[in-house]
Subunit: 281 residues, 2 copies
């Protein structure tokens, strides 16, 4: 697999780069961004994968989250992939809705037609993209974290819970924690996975915690003025599941903060420090 | 003059707000953004005006510069106005070019038709906007700084040099320092001000320094991989003028940095600290 570099800006002493590549898993051309701290010039660095939310591409995090400063300070590489397959021939929501189809891959492997040809973001994130990243950048593949926002918080939590051999740390901003029990999740999972809800549970953080496969600690920040708090995000369901199944959770609730990147940026320093501590040797 | 609030997000413990108002100076409806740190709840705060560059609105700085963290830490209000008059009836570059007309007010008072009806950004920034801000927010009007990027760096430098009674500190990222001697400046000033270059000099940082009206220190950061460095920005002309006329200047050149907000964000902490020190009692 070859990479084509399509952008590069120096930022906080490191390189904020952008690449294009053909994805065999998604059957389309994809773009992702990588921040390489100056420390990457001297040898392998730990790496963090950032998964974005609905309506985003790789660029929202890169331009709005203010993460480069902390990645530079801690010597961590950050990869920001896109949120769905892209391009001509990739099917989209028939009504063009923001919460399904393009920009809304939900980090699952779709089983239903016509989605299953392209919508395999789960395998893209855990297999194809890391293989590409590890082959092209100075990554210490034994020190890998994952985090994300909203739909991407859902992606980060479910992926880390199912792959403790790959990820040593996970955190999320305003994640969807129970897609089986919210409209966004029900729409996406029914379309991508069909009507059998027992399959959906494989992509539901609270269901995975109940299954108890591993005890990777969860670190979650949630704004209390988030416009999606009650209908879609429901952090209380995460809290209940973790309590019932003795799963380690730090859940911080923040008065006044909404769902935007203004919230994400405000607590980015804490998240990168958290990962840096968990990924230190 | 009344303000209509059109946005508010909590960010780093303060409020990132957005307002609309009718401008009598610009003869149109304008939008600006204000960051109010938590400290503003306890009394008047010093204030910084940020002037953006070509193609920008008030939003680029707010979403990309990462300034809120430092404004919160130092208890400084930051106002980010738009870069030109806006709306139906406001004339634009006949070819729709990015470097003149809409988004390219150059912070001058236009004297030529049809520009002079709306393009009075100089008076808007130094008079109308501060009057509105001081009437509506807890501002210590004796502690005011101004900074900006590119065209906005030009605006900040020229405005501070001509108004030492208003501004106690000034800084710039990759500013246009000599519009009389670069294509962007020559195009804008000839259109807005007519052919008499002696009038243009009133909006040229190097000419104002030669005039020697006041000695407010200048703090400027410039990336050496800036795509506009040689043709448009010419920091060596600023250096020469300051040397020839004994004007205090800190000019820092940074290897590898370009003209983007990735550069601006990388040194934002230094600029806000600089202003905080100059605006401390």
């Amino acid at each position: 697999m070859s990479l084509t570099q399509i952008g590069s800006n120096i930022c906080f002493g490191g390189q904020q780069n952008r690449y294009q590549h053909q994805s065999n898993v998604l059957n389309c051309e994809m773009v992702f961004s990588v921040y390489l701290p100056a420390a990457a010039e001297n040898g392998p660095c730990p790496i963090l994968y950032w998964l974005s939310g609905l309506t985003c591409t790789d660029e929202n995090f890169v331009t709005k989250a203010g993460a480069q400063k902390y990645a530079a300070e801690h010597g961590i590489i950050i990869v920001a992939p896109d949120t769905s397959p892209r391009g001509e021939g990739v099917p989209d929501d028939p009504d063009g809705a923001y919460d399904f189809g393009l920009s809304a891959g939900f980090y699952v492997n779709a089983t239903e037609e016509p989605w299953s040809v392209h919508y395999n973001m789960y395998d893209y994130i855990i297999k194809e993209l890391p293989t590409l990243i590890n082959a092209n950048f100075p990554v210490d593949a034994s020190r890998v974290g994952i985090f994300g926002h909203s739909m991407g918080g859902h992606g980060a939590l479910t992926i880390a819970l199912k792959n403790p051999d790959i990820y040593q740390s996970v955190s999320a901003f305003a994640p969807i924690v129970a897609p089986l029990r919210c409209p966004w999740g029900q729409k996406a999972l029914s379309n991508y996975l069909g009507s059998d809800q027992s399959i959906w549970a494989d992509y539901d953080t609270t269901a995975l915690i109940a299954r108890g496969e591993n005890k990777i600690p969860l670190f979650v920040d949630q704004g209390l003025a988030d416009q999606f708090l009650e209908e879609q995000l429901k952090p209380e369901l995460l809290e209940e599941a973790c309590k019932a199944h003795d799963h380690p959770l730090i859940l911080r609730r923040h008065d006044g903060y909404d769902h935007s990147y203004f919230f994400v940026a405000s607590f980015m320093e804490d998240h990168i420090r958290y990962h840096a501590e968990h990924l230190s040797r």
